[in-house]
Subunit: 241 residues, 2 copies
DNA sequence: TGTACATCAGTGAACGCGCGTTCACTGATGTAC
DNA sequence: TGTACATCAGTGAACGCGCGTTCACTGATGTAC
Protein backbone atom coordinates (compact mmCIF):
# COMPACT_ATOMS: atom_id res chain seq x y z
CA UNK A 1 0.00 0.00 0.00
CA UNK A 2 2.51 2.59 1.09
CA UNK A 3 5.41 2.70 -1.31
CA UNK A 4 8.96 2.69 -0.18
CA UNK A 5 11.28 5.32 -1.58
CA UNK A 6 12.88 2.56 -3.60
CA UNK A 7 9.60 1.58 -5.17
CA UNK A 8 8.78 5.15 -6.00
CA UNK A 9 12.19 5.66 -7.56
CA UNK A 10 11.83 2.48 -9.56
CA UNK A 11 8.47 3.49 -11.01
CA UNK A 12 9.77 6.92 -11.80
CA UNK A 13 12.92 5.78 -13.52
CA UNK A 14 11.14 3.04 -15.44
CA UNK A 15 8.91 5.77 -16.76
CA UNK A 16 11.83 7.97 -17.67
CA UNK A 17 13.48 5.16 -19.56
CA UNK A 18 10.35 4.51 -21.59
CA UNK A 19 9.90 8.20 -22.23
CA UNK A 20 13.43 8.59 -23.51
CA UNK A 21 13.05 5.40 -25.57
CA UNK A 22 9.93 6.88 -27.16
CA UNK A 23 11.89 9.99 -28.02
CA UNK A 24 14.49 7.85 -29.75
CA UNK A 25 11.77 5.93 -31.53
CA UNK A 26 10.70 9.23 -33.00
CA UNK A 27 14.24 9.96 -34.08
CA UNK A 28 15.10 6.71 -35.78
CA UNK A 29 12.33 4.17 -35.48
CA UNK A 30 12.35 0.88 -33.65
CA UNK A 31 15.33 -0.64 -35.44
CA UNK A 32 17.55 2.18 -34.23
CA UNK A 33 16.39 2.14 -30.66
CA UNK A 34 19.48 1.48 -28.58
CA UNK A 35 19.77 0.76 -24.88
CA UNK A 36 23.12 2.47 -24.76
CA UNK A 37 21.76 5.64 -26.32
CA UNK A 38 18.83 5.68 -23.91
CA UNK A 39 21.15 5.24 -20.96
CA UNK A 40 23.44 7.94 -22.27
CA UNK A 41 20.57 10.41 -22.61
CA UNK A 42 19.54 9.72 -19.03
CA UNK A 43 23.07 10.12 -17.71
CA UNK A 44 23.25 6.49 -16.69
CA UNK A 45 25.68 3.81 -17.62
CA UNK A 46 24.23 1.32 -20.08
CA UNK A 47 24.42 -1.65 -17.77
CA UNK A 48 22.19 0.13 -15.28
CA UNK A 49 19.20 -0.28 -17.60
CA UNK A 50 19.33 -4.00 -16.99
CA UNK A 51 17.94 -3.34 -13.53
CA UNK A 52 14.76 -2.22 -15.25
CA UNK A 53 14.51 -4.25 -18.42
CA UNK A 54 16.20 -7.59 -18.79
CA UNK A 55 16.88 -6.99 -22.47
CA UNK A 56 16.29 -4.66 -25.36
CA UNK A 57 13.37 -6.78 -26.51
CA UNK A 58 11.66 -6.37 -23.16
CA UNK A 59 11.92 -2.62 -23.46
CA UNK A 60 10.40 -2.86 -26.94
CA UNK A 61 7.61 -5.01 -25.59
CA UNK A 62 6.86 -2.43 -22.92
CA UNK A 63 6.73 0.32 -25.54
CA UNK A 64 4.42 -1.74 -27.72
CA UNK A 65 2.04 -2.43 -24.87
CA UNK A 66 2.05 1.21 -23.85
CA UNK A 67 1.32 2.25 -27.43
CA UNK A 68 -1.62 -0.11 -27.77
CA UNK A 69 -2.95 1.02 -24.43
CA UNK A 70 -2.54 4.67 -25.24
CA UNK A 71 -4.32 4.25 -28.54
CA UNK A 72 -7.01 2.11 -26.95
CA UNK A 73 -7.64 4.62 -24.19
CA UNK A 74 -7.90 7.48 -26.67
CA UNK A 75 -10.39 5.59 -28.80
CA UNK A 76 -12.44 4.48 -25.81
CA UNK A 77 -12.64 8.01 -24.47
CA UNK A 78 -13.81 9.32 -27.83
CA UNK A 79 -16.47 6.67 -28.20
CA UNK A 80 -17.61 7.20 -24.63
CA UNK A 81 -18.20 10.85 -25.38
CA UNK A 82 -20.12 10.18 -28.59
CA UNK A 83 -23.78 9.50 -29.09
CA UNK A 84 -23.23 5.87 -30.07
CA UNK A 85 -23.99 4.00 -33.27
CA UNK A 86 -22.75 5.84 -36.30
CA UNK A 87 -21.43 8.73 -34.23
CA UNK A 88 -19.48 6.33 -32.08
CA UNK A 89 -17.88 4.79 -35.13
CA UNK A 90 -16.92 8.16 -36.56
CA UNK A 91 -15.56 9.30 -33.22
CA UNK A 92 -13.53 6.11 -32.93
CA UNK A 93 -12.03 6.61 -36.40
CA UNK A 94 -11.13 10.21 -35.75
CA UNK A 95 -9.59 9.32 -32.42
CA UNK A 96 -7.48 6.56 -33.93
CA UNK A 97 -6.28 8.83 -36.71
CA UNK A 98 -5.66 11.68 -34.31
CA UNK A 99 -3.59 9.46 -32.07
CA UNK A 100 -1.65 8.12 -35.05
CA UNK A 101 -0.85 11.58 -36.35
CA UNK A 102 0.23 12.66 -32.88
CA UNK A 103 2.35 9.55 -32.30
CA UNK A 104 3.49 8.46 -35.75
CA UNK A 105 6.45 6.42 -34.55
CA UNK A 106 4.50 4.58 -31.94
CA UNK A 107 1.90 3.91 -34.61
CA UNK A 108 4.60 2.52 -36.89
CA UNK A 109 5.83 0.41 -34.01
CA UNK A 110 2.51 -1.39 -33.66
CA UNK A 111 1.02 -1.20 -37.16
CA UNK A 112 4.08 -0.97 -39.38
CA UNK A 113 6.32 -3.73 -40.61
CA UNK A 114 7.31 -6.10 -37.83
CA UNK A 115 10.64 -5.35 -36.19
CA UNK A 116 13.12 -7.89 -37.57
CA UNK A 117 14.14 -10.48 -35.05
CA UNK A 118 11.46 -9.46 -32.58
CA UNK A 119 8.55 -11.69 -31.76
CA UNK A 120 5.70 -10.08 -29.85
CA UNK A 121 4.95 -12.02 -26.68
CA UNK A 122 1.52 -13.03 -25.46
CA UNK A 123 1.19 -9.97 -23.20
CA UNK A 124 0.72 -7.70 -26.20
CA UNK A 125 -2.39 -9.51 -27.40
CA UNK A 126 -4.90 -8.04 -24.97
CA UNK A 127 -3.82 -4.39 -25.42
CA UNK A 128 -3.81 -4.92 -29.19
CA UNK A 129 -7.41 -6.08 -29.01
CA UNK A 130 -8.75 -2.94 -27.39
CA UNK A 131 -9.72 -1.11 -30.55
CA UNK A 132 -11.32 -4.14 -32.22
CA UNK A 133 -13.18 -4.86 -28.99
CA UNK A 134 -14.36 -1.28 -28.84
CA UNK A 135 -15.74 -1.46 -32.36
CA UNK A 136 -17.37 -4.79 -31.64
CA UNK A 137 -19.08 -3.41 -28.56
CA UNK A 138 -20.19 -0.38 -30.47
CA UNK A 139 -21.86 -2.56 -33.09
CA UNK A 140 -23.56 -4.70 -30.50
CA UNK A 141 -24.88 -1.60 -28.73
CA UNK A 142 -26.04 -0.03 -31.96
CA UNK A 143 -27.89 -3.18 -32.91
CA UNK A 144 -29.73 -3.20 -29.60
CA UNK A 145 -30.60 0.45 -29.56
CA UNK A 146 -31.74 0.76 -33.15
CA UNK A 147 -28.60 2.46 -34.43
CA UNK A 148 -28.22 -0.12 -37.12
CA UNK A 149 -30.28 -1.32 -40.00
CA UNK A 150 -31.61 -4.82 -39.50
CA UNK A 151 -31.13 -7.59 -41.99
CA UNK A 152 -28.25 -7.66 -44.41
CA UNK A 153 -26.27 -4.53 -43.68
CA UNK A 154 -25.73 -1.85 -46.25
CA UNK A 155 -27.65 -1.65 -49.44
CA UNK A 156 -25.09 -2.64 -52.02
CA UNK A 157 -26.88 -5.31 -54.06
CA UNK A 158 -25.15 -8.39 -55.41
CA UNK A 159 -23.35 -7.29 -58.52
CA UNK A 160 -24.94 -7.73 -61.91
CA UNK A 161 -23.22 -11.07 -62.44
CA UNK A 162 -25.17 -12.47 -59.54
CA UNK A 163 -23.06 -13.27 -56.50
CA UNK A 164 -24.58 -15.54 -53.90
CA UNK A 165 -25.88 -13.46 -51.03
CA UNK A 166 -24.11 -15.45 -48.33
CA UNK A 167 -20.60 -15.12 -46.98
CA UNK A 168 -17.91 -17.54 -48.05
CA UNK A 169 -17.70 -20.42 -45.59
CA UNK A 170 -14.48 -19.67 -43.78
CA UNK A 171 -15.36 -16.01 -43.42
CA UNK A 172 -18.73 -16.83 -41.90
CA UNK A 173 -17.09 -19.08 -39.34
CA UNK A 174 -14.45 -16.48 -38.53
CA UNK A 175 -17.09 -13.78 -38.21
CA UNK A 176 -19.02 -15.90 -35.77
CA UNK A 177 -15.94 -16.39 -33.65
CA UNK A 178 -15.36 -12.65 -33.64
CA UNK A 179 -18.98 -11.97 -32.77
CA UNK A 180 -18.87 -14.39 -29.87
CA UNK A 181 -15.72 -12.75 -28.54
CA UNK A 182 -16.41 -9.05 -28.85
CA UNK A 183 -19.78 -8.36 -30.45
CA UNK A 184 -22.44 -10.58 -28.94
CA UNK A 185 -25.55 -10.86 -31.04
CA UNK A 186 -24.14 -9.15 -34.10
CA UNK A 187 -24.81 -11.17 -37.27
CA UNK A 188 -21.88 -12.54 -39.22
CA UNK A 189 -22.75 -10.42 -42.26
CA UNK A 190 -22.32 -7.27 -40.20
CA UNK A 191 -19.07 -8.52 -38.70
CA UNK A 192 -17.71 -9.28 -42.16
CA UNK A 193 -18.31 -5.73 -43.24
CA UNK A 194 -16.96 -4.39 -39.99
CA UNK A 195 -13.75 -6.27 -40.73
CA UNK A 196 -13.62 -4.42 -44.01
CA UNK A 197 -14.18 -1.12 -42.25
CA UNK A 198 -11.53 -1.95 -39.69
CA UNK A 199 -8.85 -2.84 -42.22
CA UNK A 200 -9.89 0.18 -44.26
CA UNK A 201 -9.42 2.48 -41.28
CA UNK A 202 -5.88 1.36 -40.60
CA UNK A 203 -5.05 1.03 -44.28
CA UNK A 204 -5.85 4.69 -44.83
CA UNK A 205 -3.93 5.82 -41.79
CA UNK A 206 -0.89 3.75 -42.73
CA UNK A 207 -0.94 5.12 -46.27
CA UNK A 208 -1.24 8.62 -44.94
CA UNK A 209 1.59 8.26 -42.44
CA UNK A 210 3.87 6.27 -44.67
CA UNK A 211 3.61 8.70 -47.55
CA UNK A 212 1.60 6.69 -50.05
CA UNK A 213 -1.08 9.33 -50.41
CA UNK A 214 1.30 12.00 -51.62
CA UNK A 215 0.06 13.05 -55.02
CA UNK A 216 -3.51 11.90 -54.49
CA UNK A 217 -5.51 12.26 -51.28
CA UNK A 218 -3.05 14.51 -49.54
CA UNK A 219 -3.84 16.20 -47.21
CA UNK A 220 -6.10 13.35 -46.24
CA UNK A 221 -8.66 14.99 -43.94
CA UNK A 222 -11.54 15.13 -46.36
CA UNK A 223 -10.78 11.76 -47.86
CA UNK A 224 -10.66 10.25 -44.40
CA UNK A 225 -13.94 11.79 -43.38
CA UNK A 226 -15.60 10.66 -46.57
CA UNK A 227 -14.26 7.13 -46.34
CA UNK A 228 -15.32 6.50 -42.76
CA UNK A 229 -18.80 7.71 -43.66
CA UNK A 230 -18.94 5.25 -46.52
CA UNK A 231 -17.77 2.51 -44.19
CA UNK A 232 -20.52 3.41 -41.74
CA UNK A 233 -23.01 2.98 -44.56
CA UNK A 234 -21.47 -0.30 -45.57
CA UNK A 235 -21.74 -1.68 -42.06
CA UNK A 236 -25.27 -0.37 -41.69
CA UNK A 237 -24.73 2.17 -38.97
CA UNK A 238 -27.29 4.94 -38.96
CA UNK A 239 -27.18 8.29 -37.22
CA UNK A 240 -28.74 9.04 -33.85
CA UNK A 241 -28.77 6.78 -30.80
CA UNK B 1 24.83 -2.62 -79.21
CA UNK B 2 27.27 -5.46 -78.64
CA UNK B 3 28.29 -5.65 -75.03
CA UNK B 4 31.84 -5.93 -73.91
CA UNK B 5 32.77 -8.68 -71.47
CA UNK B 6 33.13 -5.98 -68.88
CA UNK B 7 29.61 -4.72 -69.43
CA UNK B 8 28.21 -8.22 -69.27
CA UNK B 9 30.07 -8.91 -66.06
CA UNK B 10 28.85 -5.66 -64.57
CA UNK B 11 25.21 -6.38 -65.33
CA UNK B 12 25.59 -9.90 -64.01
CA UNK B 13 27.25 -8.92 -60.75
CA UNK B 14 24.90 -6.02 -60.16
CA UNK B 15 22.12 -8.58 -60.42
CA UNK B 16 23.83 -10.95 -58.03
CA UNK B 17 24.29 -8.21 -55.48
CA UNK B 18 20.61 -7.31 -55.58
CA UNK B 19 19.64 -10.94 -55.41
CA UNK B 20 21.75 -11.53 -52.34
CA UNK B 21 20.49 -8.29 -50.81
CA UNK B 22 16.93 -9.51 -51.31
CA UNK B 23 17.81 -12.72 -49.55
CA UNK B 24 19.10 -10.72 -46.61
CA UNK B 25 16.00 -8.58 -46.67
CA UNK B 26 14.04 -11.76 -46.14
CA UNK B 27 16.27 -12.70 -43.23
CA UNK B 28 16.24 -9.48 -41.29
CA UNK B 29 14.30 -6.78 -43.05
CA UNK B 30 15.60 -3.54 -44.47
CA UNK B 31 17.12 -2.19 -41.27
CA UNK B 32 19.45 -5.20 -41.05
CA UNK B 33 20.53 -5.13 -44.65
CA UNK B 34 24.29 -4.74 -44.56
CA UNK B 35 26.70 -4.12 -47.41
CA UNK B 36 29.38 -6.06 -45.64
CA UNK B 37 27.16 -9.10 -45.21
CA UNK B 38 26.15 -9.00 -48.86
CA UNK B 39 29.77 -8.78 -49.94
CA UNK B 40 30.71 -11.61 -47.62
CA UNK B 41 28.00 -13.85 -49.04
CA UNK B 42 29.26 -13.17 -52.53
CA UNK B 43 32.86 -13.83 -51.63
CA UNK B 44 33.84 -10.24 -52.27
CA UNK B 45 35.48 -7.72 -50.08
CA UNK B 46 33.06 -5.08 -48.82
CA UNK B 47 34.74 -2.18 -50.54
CA UNK B 48 34.21 -3.86 -53.92
CA UNK B 49 30.47 -3.21 -53.70
CA UNK B 50 31.19 0.49 -54.04
CA UNK B 51 31.98 -0.15 -57.70
CA UNK B 52 28.31 -1.04 -58.12
CA UNK B 53 26.42 1.07 -55.61
CA UNK B 54 27.86 4.30 -54.29
CA UNK B 55 26.26 3.74 -50.87
CA UNK B 56 23.96 1.54 -48.90
CA UNK B 57 21.06 3.87 -49.59
CA UNK B 58 21.56 3.50 -53.32
CA UNK B 59 21.33 -0.26 -52.99
CA UNK B 60 18.12 0.18 -51.00
CA UNK B 61 16.75 2.48 -53.67
CA UNK B 62 17.49 -0.11 -56.35
CA UNK B 63 15.69 -2.77 -54.32
CA UNK B 64 12.70 -0.50 -53.82
CA UNK B 65 12.45 0.30 -57.51
CA UNK B 66 12.77 -3.38 -58.42
CA UNK B 67 10.05 -4.27 -55.93
CA UNK B 68 7.62 -1.69 -57.27
CA UNK B 69 8.37 -2.80 -60.81
CA UNK B 70 7.99 -6.46 -59.99
CA UNK B 71 4.66 -5.82 -58.30
CA UNK B 72 3.52 -3.54 -61.10
CA UNK B 73 4.42 -6.06 -63.78
CA UNK B 74 2.59 -8.85 -61.95
CA UNK B 75 -0.53 -6.72 -61.60
CA UNK B 76 -0.42 -5.54 -65.19
CA UNK B 77 -0.07 -9.08 -66.49
CA UNK B 78 -3.03 -10.23 -64.44
CA UNK B 79 -5.22 -7.38 -65.60
CA UNK B 80 -4.14 -7.91 -69.19
CA UNK B 81 -5.31 -11.50 -68.99
CA UNK B 82 -8.66 -10.62 -67.44
CA UNK B 83 -11.91 -9.68 -69.13
CA UNK B 84 -11.75 -6.07 -67.96
CA UNK B 85 -14.07 -4.09 -65.72
CA UNK B 86 -14.93 -5.92 -62.56
CA UNK B 87 -12.88 -8.94 -63.56
CA UNK B 88 -9.87 -6.73 -64.15
CA UNK B 89 -10.20 -5.24 -60.70
CA UNK B 90 -10.50 -8.64 -59.04
CA UNK B 91 -7.54 -9.94 -61.03
CA UNK B 92 -5.50 -6.92 -60.03
CA UNK B 93 -6.28 -7.44 -56.35
CA UNK B 94 -5.44 -11.11 -56.43
CA UNK B 95 -2.21 -10.41 -58.27
CA UNK B 96 -1.18 -7.78 -55.75
CA UNK B 97 -1.94 -10.06 -52.84
CA UNK B 98 -0.26 -13.01 -54.52
CA UNK B 99 2.85 -10.99 -55.11
CA UNK B 100 2.83 -9.71 -51.52
CA UNK B 101 2.50 -13.20 -50.07
CA UNK B 102 5.29 -14.44 -52.32
CA UNK B 103 7.58 -11.49 -51.51
CA UNK B 104 6.62 -10.41 -48.00
CA UNK B 105 9.86 -8.62 -47.23
CA UNK B 106 9.89 -6.70 -50.46
CA UNK B 107 6.30 -5.78 -49.73
CA UNK B 108 7.30 -4.56 -46.30
CA UNK B 109 10.09 -2.58 -47.91
CA UNK B 110 7.69 -0.58 -50.05
CA UNK B 111 4.48 -0.57 -48.04
CA UNK B 112 5.71 -0.97 -44.49
CA UNK B 113 7.01 1.65 -42.14
CA UNK B 114 9.58 3.88 -43.80
CA UNK B 115 13.20 2.85 -43.26
CA UNK B 116 14.61 5.24 -40.65
CA UNK B 117 17.06 7.70 -42.08
CA UNK B 118 16.22 6.81 -45.64
CA UNK B 119 14.46 9.22 -47.96
CA UNK B 120 13.11 7.78 -51.18
CA UNK B 121 14.46 9.71 -54.17
CA UNK B 122 12.45 10.89 -57.12
CA UNK B 123 13.23 7.83 -59.21
CA UNK B 124 10.97 5.67 -57.07
CA UNK B 125 7.90 7.73 -57.84
CA UNK B 126 7.12 6.37 -61.30
CA UNK B 127 7.48 2.68 -60.38
CA UNK B 128 5.38 3.30 -57.28
CA UNK B 129 2.62 4.70 -59.46
CA UNK B 130 2.21 1.63 -61.63
CA UNK B 131 -0.52 -0.06 -59.63
CA UNK B 132 -2.55 3.12 -59.12
CA UNK B 133 -2.17 3.90 -62.83
CA UNK B 134 -3.30 0.40 -63.69
CA UNK B 135 -6.42 0.77 -61.59
CA UNK B 136 -7.10 4.18 -63.05
CA UNK B 137 -6.82 2.85 -66.57
CA UNK B 138 -9.05 -0.04 -65.73
CA UNK B 139 -11.75 2.30 -64.47
CA UNK B 140 -11.50 4.51 -67.54
CA UNK B 141 -11.80 1.47 -69.82
CA UNK B 142 -14.72 0.06 -67.87
CA UNK B 143 -16.54 3.35 -68.08
CA UNK B 144 -16.15 3.43 -71.85
CA UNK B 145 -17.08 -0.17 -72.45
CA UNK B 146 -20.10 -0.30 -70.19
CA UNK B 147 -18.41 -2.19 -67.36
CA UNK B 148 -19.44 0.43 -64.87
CA UNK B 149 -22.70 1.83 -63.66
CA UNK B 150 -23.26 5.40 -64.78
CA UNK B 151 -24.08 8.19 -62.41
CA UNK B 152 -23.13 8.11 -58.76
CA UNK B 153 -21.35 4.82 -58.28
CA UNK B 154 -22.57 2.16 -55.93
CA UNK B 155 -25.95 2.19 -54.37
CA UNK B 156 -25.23 3.07 -50.79
CA UNK B 157 -27.68 5.85 -50.05
CA UNK B 158 -26.83 8.85 -47.93
CA UNK B 159 -27.22 7.74 -44.36
CA UNK B 160 -30.46 8.38 -42.55
CA UNK B 161 -29.11 11.57 -41.01
CA UNK B 162 -28.90 13.07 -44.45
CA UNK B 163 -25.38 13.60 -45.68
CA UNK B 164 -24.92 15.91 -48.64
CA UNK B 165 -24.50 13.86 -51.78
CA UNK B 166 -21.39 15.66 -52.97
CA UNK B 167 -17.79 15.06 -52.09
CA UNK B 168 -16.04 17.32 -49.62
CA UNK B 169 -14.25 20.10 -51.47
CA UNK B 170 -10.62 19.10 -51.10
CA UNK B 171 -11.40 15.51 -51.99
CA UNK B 172 -13.22 16.52 -55.14
CA UNK B 173 -10.26 18.60 -56.26
CA UNK B 174 -7.82 15.80 -55.47
CA UNK B 175 -9.99 13.28 -57.29
CA UNK B 176 -10.01 15.49 -60.36
CA UNK B 177 -6.24 15.70 -60.33
CA UNK B 178 -6.03 11.93 -60.07
CA UNK B 179 -8.54 11.48 -62.87
CA UNK B 180 -6.61 13.81 -65.14
CA UNK B 181 -3.40 11.92 -64.46
CA UNK B 182 -4.41 8.29 -64.67
CA UNK B 183 -8.13 7.87 -65.30
CA UNK B 184 -9.27 10.26 -68.03
CA UNK B 185 -12.99 10.82 -68.09
CA UNK B 186 -13.72 9.08 -64.81
CA UNK B 187 -15.94 11.21 -62.55
CA UNK B 188 -14.58 12.41 -59.23
CA UNK B 189 -17.18 10.44 -57.31
CA UNK B 190 -15.89 7.22 -58.82
CA UNK B 191 -12.29 8.20 -58.15
CA UNK B 192 -13.09 8.94 -54.53
CA UNK B 193 -14.46 5.45 -54.04
CA UNK B 194 -11.60 3.96 -55.97
CA UNK B 195 -9.27 5.63 -53.49
CA UNK B 196 -11.15 3.85 -50.76
CA UNK B 197 -10.85 0.55 -52.61
CA UNK B 198 -7.16 1.12 -53.17
CA UNK B 199 -6.37 1.89 -49.53
CA UNK B 200 -8.60 -1.01 -48.53
CA UNK B 201 -6.68 -3.40 -50.76
CA UNK B 202 -3.32 -2.55 -49.26
CA UNK B 203 -4.72 -2.21 -45.77
CA UNK B 204 -5.95 -5.78 -45.85
CA UNK B 205 -2.73 -7.12 -47.26
CA UNK B 206 -0.64 -5.25 -44.70
CA UNK B 207 -2.80 -6.52 -41.87
CA UNK B 208 -2.53 -10.04 -43.20
CA UNK B 209 1.23 -9.94 -43.62
CA UNK B 210 1.95 -8.05 -40.43
CA UNK B 211 -0.07 -10.41 -38.29
CA UNK B 212 -3.00 -8.19 -37.34
CA UNK B 213 -5.59 -10.62 -38.65
CA UNK B 214 -4.54 -13.43 -36.35
CA UNK B 215 -7.58 -14.30 -34.29
CA UNK B 216 -10.10 -12.90 -36.75
CA UNK B 217 -9.91 -13.20 -40.54
CA UNK B 218 -7.05 -15.66 -40.61
CA UNK B 219 -6.50 -17.34 -43.02
CA UNK B 220 -7.59 -14.38 -45.05
CA UNK B 221 -8.46 -15.87 -48.43
CA UNK B 222 -12.21 -15.74 -48.11
CA UNK B 223 -12.20 -12.42 -46.37
CA UNK B 224 -10.02 -11.00 -49.10
CA UNK B 225 -12.22 -12.32 -51.86
CA UNK B 226 -15.32 -10.99 -50.16
CA UNK B 227 -13.84 -7.57 -49.50
CA UNK B 228 -12.62 -6.95 -53.01
CA UNK B 229 -16.06 -7.90 -54.30
CA UNK B 230 -17.63 -5.36 -51.97
CA UNK B 231 -15.14 -2.77 -53.16
CA UNK B 232 -16.06 -3.51 -56.76
CA UNK B 233 -19.68 -2.87 -55.86
CA UNK B 234 -18.74 0.32 -54.08
CA UNK B 235 -16.86 1.63 -57.08
CA UNK B 236 -19.64 0.57 -59.43
CA UNK B 237 -17.81 -2.07 -61.41
CA UNK B 238 -20.11 -4.68 -62.93
CA UNK B 239 -19.27 -8.06 -64.40
CA UNK B 240 -18.74 -8.76 -68.08
CA UNK B 241 -16.84 -6.62 -70.55
C1' DT C 1 15.49 2.89 19.04
C1' DG C 2 19.63 0.78 17.42
C1' DT C 3 22.20 -2.63 15.24
C1' DA C 4 23.27 -6.51 11.74
C1' DC C 5 22.14 -8.18 7.64
C1' DA C 6 19.90 -8.51 3.08
C1' DT C 7 18.41 -6.32 -0.91
C1' DC C 8 18.99 -3.61 -4.69
C1' DA C 9 20.55 0.58 -7.89
C1' DG C 10 24.11 2.04 -10.22
C1' DT C 11 29.39 1.85 -11.75
C1' DG C 12 33.12 0.89 -14.83
C1' DA C 13 35.60 -2.21 -17.41
C1' DA C 14 35.51 -5.65 -20.58
C1' DC C 15 34.00 -9.17 -24.32
C1' DG C 16 33.09 -9.89 -28.89
C1' DC C 17 30.86 -8.30 -32.46
C1' DG C 18 29.26 -5.60 -36.56
C1' DC C 19 28.88 -1.56 -39.42
C1' DG C 20 29.66 2.14 -43.69
C1' DT C 21 33.09 4.26 -46.01
C1' DT C 22 37.85 5.73 -47.74
C1' DC C 23 42.17 4.96 -49.88
C1' DA C 24 46.33 3.50 -52.18
C1' DC C 25 47.20 -0.54 -54.66
C1' DT C 26 47.34 -4.51 -58.33
C1' DG C 27 46.06 -6.62 -62.31
C1' DA C 28 42.85 -7.53 -65.93
C1' DT C 29 40.01 -5.72 -69.80
C1' DG C 30 39.18 -2.38 -73.42
C1' DT C 31 40.59 1.28 -76.89
C1' DA C 32 43.22 4.20 -80.12
C1' DC C 33 46.70 4.36 -83.18
C1' DT D 1 47.78 -7.20 -85.94
C1' DG D 2 50.47 -5.32 -82.30
C1' DT D 3 51.61 -2.01 -78.97
C1' DA D 4 50.86 1.91 -75.41
C1' DC D 5 47.79 3.78 -72.64
C1' DA D 6 43.39 4.40 -70.17
C1' DT D 7 39.75 2.45 -67.76
C1' DC D 8 37.86 -0.18 -64.38
C1' DA D 9 37.03 -4.37 -60.90
C1' DG D 10 38.52 -6.00 -56.97
C1' DT D 11 41.98 -6.15 -52.72
C1' DG D 12 43.31 -5.36 -48.04
C1' DA D 13 44.08 -2.37 -44.45
C1' DA D 14 42.45 1.16 -41.84
C1' DC D 15 39.31 4.84 -39.54
C1' DG D 16 36.00 5.70 -36.32
C1' DC D 17 32.02 4.33 -34.68
C1' DG D 18 28.19 1.83 -32.22
C1' DC D 19 25.99 -2.09 -30.25
C1' DG D 20 23.94 -5.76 -26.39
C1' DT D 21 25.24 -8.05 -22.57
C1' DT D 22 28.05 -9.80 -18.46
C1' DC D 23 30.42 -9.29 -14.22
C1' DA D 24 32.62 -8.05 -9.93
C1' DC D 25 32.18 -4.04 -7.30
C1' DT D 26 30.47 -0.06 -4.12
C1' DG D 27 27.30 2.19 -1.50
C1' DA D 28 22.67 3.38 -0.38
C1' DT D 29 18.04 1.81 1.15
C1' DG D 30 15.08 -1.41 3.55
C1' DT D 31 14.01 -5.12 7.11
C1' DA D 32 14.16 -8.19 11.20
C1' DC D 33 15.29 -8.51 15.71
Amino acid sequence: MTQTARERARTQITGEIKEEARRQLAAGGAPRLSLRAVARALGMVSSALYRYFPSRDDLLTALIIDAYDSLGAAAEAAVGAAAGGRDGWLACCHAVRGWALAHPHEYALIYGSPVPGYRAPQETVAPAARVPALIGGLLADALQSGGMKRGRPGLVPPHAGGRAAGLPGALRAQAEVVAAAIAPGVPAAVIARALIAWTQLFGMISFELFGQLVGSADPADDFFGYAIGEMADLVGLVAGA
